[in-house]
Each structure stands twice: as C-alpha cells, then as structure tokens.
Symmetry: C2
Subunit: 293 residues, 2 copies
C-alpha cells in the first residue's frame, strides 16, 4: 500500500475479535501506532508480551486522544457509556466504529449520541468469530477473508466511509455496505438463528429419557459440528439476541412453522415430501455458500 | 494381532461408509480375503483401481458364498431383498451384519427373516459419516476412533458377538452393545434430530425476505458448520427419518416446545432466562462430548 488509511488506531476493550484485529493491524500495518485499552491489566500484559504493541492504556480517554480511528470492541451494552467517557478526547476528524453483531441498536444509541456531538460514527461488523473467547485465543487470520458489513445511517461523508473500507480491506477482508435494519434481519437469519438452532440441538439431545452415557458414546462429528457455535460465550450471545430481538423472533417463528411442516410430512407418511424438504435445505445451503466455492 | 477375527469378509453395496470400511479392512487385515459386490460396475472398477481388492462381484450370492462375515452396506430399504437373494449361499456359521443407521426396523425385517432361517444376524452401526457420498469419497480413517453400536436382540451366541466386536475393534473403533429401540431413540437425539436442525438452519435463512446476496455476503464459518451435515444425501436421510419416524418425531416435538420456551423468554424480556437457556446448551454439549476431551 502506498499510504496507510490511518496512522493512530485505538482499539477499546479487545476480546477474541478485537484482539484478532489488533494482531492483524500489527501484521499488515506495522507503521501504525496501535493503542489498546482494556479495563483489566491482564489483556494488556498479554498484548505487550505478544509484541503486538507497547501502547497500552488503563484509561480509555488517554488511549483515544489523538487517534484517527477508534474501534469499540467491548460488549455492545458498554459502547454508549464508554463513548461518552472518551468523547472530549475524540478528534472531530477521527472515525469511530465498532465491531458489534447488531447495528440498529448501536446506531440508535451510541451512533446517534456521537453524531449529535459532531463526531463521525460508522458501524462495522466483521463476520468472523469462534467459540473460544478472549484475547488469549485471538489470531491475526481470524478475520482473513471475512466480509465486514459497514453501516452508515448517520450519513458520514463518502470519503470517510471509503477510508474505513480501505482499512478493513487492507486487513484481508472484503466490505459490504448495508442498511442497519437490513443487516440485523440478515444476521438474524444467517448467524443468530443458527446459533440458537445449534444450542437447541445440544439441549434437544438431553430432553429425552436417553441415558447420558448412550448419548456420549454415539455422539460423532455431525453432532460436534452442528452444535459447535453454542459453546460460545452465553453472556455475549444473550446480549446479541436481546439487542436483535424482533428480527430473531421473526426468524424463530419461521423455524417453528417449518419444523411443524416437517413433523406433518412424517406423520402423514409423505416420504417424497420429506425428501423434498431435505433437498430444499441442501440447495439453500449451497446457494448461500456459493461465494465460498 | 495373533489371529484375524474373520478370513473371508464380504461387503455388499459399498458407498461412503461401506467403502471406507473396505479400505480399513485392506489396511488393517491385509491377509483377509475381501470381497465386494455392487449393483453397478463403476464402484467395482474403483475398488480394483485403488488396489483394495481383486475380488469384485456383480452377483451378490457369489460374493457371499463361503464368507465368514457378510456386511450389508446398501441403503437400508434393500437389506431384506438382498438377504433373501444371498440366503442359500450364506454358511450357517457365518455372521451377517449391517451398517444401517436405524436398528429396530432392520431387526424386525432382515434380522428376523435371517434368524428364522437359522442364520446369525447381529446389527452394527458405526457412528461415522460425511456429507460427501459414494465410494469415491471413502477413506480408511473415516471410521477411526468411532463408536460402533452393536445390537443383538435375536440372541446370537456371546462368542459370535465377541467375534464381531473384535473385527470392529481391529479397525480402530470401539464397540458398544445396545438394545435396538434404545439405539434408535439415542440416534434420533444425537444424529437424526441434529441433521434436521442443520437442514432447518439452512432453510430458515431463506424463509425471510432478505435478498440472497445479503445472506451470501454475511454467511461465515458458524453457518457453514451448523449446516454442514445437511449437504448429505437427501435420499438416504429421507429413508433414515422414515425408518426411525417415532423416535425422530418425539425428539422434534421436544425441540418445538423448547423453541417456544426461548421465544417466550425473549417476548417477556427475561434476559437472565435467555442466558440460562444458552448456558444449559453449552453445558449439555460439553457433557455429551466429554469422552472426546
């Protein structure tokens, strides 16, 4: 790259995803001044020991002062208070973004507040994650090849949006601009509902009368993969479902109806109907994953 | 091993799983005479080209003649007719087994018929598979480390059961003797219901109004893994759900109720309840997979 999109990047509250972004910045933009704030000392020690950056802070305002990109990476529920706290130190020309899994809620709260104070807020959602939480499990390649959804309902200037997109793309991702409500409905279908069905799968295994040892003995790779994501942090996921509650419930109602439909097909011995139900699932998966193939 | 459990092993109708077993036999028991029958010539050509065995047959009866272990590896629905066809060539001291995913149905039909004709039938179910069908995708390690459920409701002698268990264990699996009805209820929970939920997840993504491109762009590794198994053959899975219909419907009714419970928690804004629902899922998964850890 001829010129870096940003010179001073500040990541606030890095966990698995924020930590992985920090590592990717360290790897792809070694000339950047990378600043990291965390509430606790332990992740900051980890950051220094790994050689990601020397610029660690226990005061978020000091971390943000003079940065030209500030990334909110705490749990979503903490964004607004944190943003108010750092506000006086945020330069007018800086971009503030976040990496939260829901966007309408973030723009309605944090984004609206920052915009009304004359700051530039654009939402980001890197579609990457793993069930192992914390910066200890972070790695630079977690976001490699991921799509980063960008949401700009407050109408930040196109040049700012391009600057933020250039940052994400320099880290090996591709970007995709969306309306926040549309983003939230889409992730309800492609991420939040899958998380719930993975959890339902694990719960459902134990809802019958089958002895635990039998379940343990017969569980194989299908069960392992179908349920993998539900090992992710329950606190974070309760927040996500909460903040995307309307779209999630709509997706779940569709799933309940579709499950009733399958049960009916089995009850009425419509074997061809069952086969078609399964074929449609296979086709849906293949169409959705076409981009990867 | 001092002595092979069997000297002449016959696999009838190998696909992904039967083909993988054939490769494992070739690898772990090279002294065995391995015989393979298929309805079509193509898989037999593949078997010969791969050097798995020279003993390929287009007549199942000839393949079975003189074998001391016969493994039914066709779709379950074909077991009974195939067994009747080979019956006159099956030695009284031979063991016939199968690798079908449901067991009560197999014993009620094929097992009962063979037993009434004085033959020894014991059910097997290796808990291994993949979404890529056919012997072209087979590999010896597919069954490595898997549990093989053994079902013996017709009361074959303990020595025969031990002989069959020794065969499976020599291929790197562990065996677990179960009652067929109990097996079927357990796989409904740990394999069949997960397959349905994976399919539901893929279908559910497309049941809303979200444009396909948005879904494609935002689909990530969580969607990929949660839905992986539903890429498996719809014909085979329609058969499996069919043949285990009562236990599958019971598991699905529990899932519908549990999903209603979660929707209620979201509707009544019981955030702690949602968190506990997710924690219980995570705990269930970890307990079930304890043996692997």
């Amino acid at each position: 790259m001829s010129k870096l999109p940003f010179e001073k990047i500040c990541i606030l509250g890095p966990g698995l995803l924020g930590g992985s972004i920090a590592m990717a910045v360290h790897q792809h933009m070694p000339e950047c001044e990378l600043r990291i704030w965390a509430r606790r000392q332990q992740p900051l020690d980890f950051v220094r020991e790994c050689g990601i950056t020397e610029h660690t802070y226990t005061d978020a305002r000091e971390a943000a002062r003079g940065a030209d990109l500030i990334i909110l990476a705490t749990p979503i529920g903490a964004f607004e208070e944190l943003s108010r706290y750092i506000l006086s130190a945020v330069a007018k020309e800086a971009i503030i973004t976040d990496i939260g899994s829901v966007k309408a809620y973030v723009h309605r709260t944090t984004g609206a507040m920052l915009t009304s104070r004359g700051r530039c807020f654009i939402g980001s959602h890197p579609m990457a994650g793993a069930e192992t939480p914390g910066i200890e499990n972070a790695f630079a390649d977690l976001i490699k090849g991921a799509t980063v959804a960008l949401t700009n309902p407050h109408g930040a200037p196109e040049a700012k949006l391009q600057q933020l997109a250039a940052f994400w793309e320099a880290l090996g991702t591709s970007t995709y601009v969306m309306d926040p409500a549309n983003h939230d409905r889409t992730v309800a279908r492609i991420s939040h509902c899958p998380h719930i069905l993975a959890a339902l799968c694990a719960r459902g295994a134990t809802l019958g009368q089958e002895p635990m040892e039998d379940l343990q003995r017969l569980a194989a790779s299908g069960f392992r993969d179908t349920t993998r994501v539900c090992s992710g942090g329950a606190n974070m996921w309760a927040d996500i479902l909460w903040e995307n509650d309307v779209a999630v419930r709509s997706a779940l109602h569709d799933c309940v109806n579709d499950l009733h439909h399958l049960i009916d097909l089995l009850e009425t011995q419509d074997k061809e109907g069952v086969r078609q139900w399964l074929i449609a699932a296979k086709n849906a998966r293949e169409t959705i994953r076409e981009i990867d193939n």
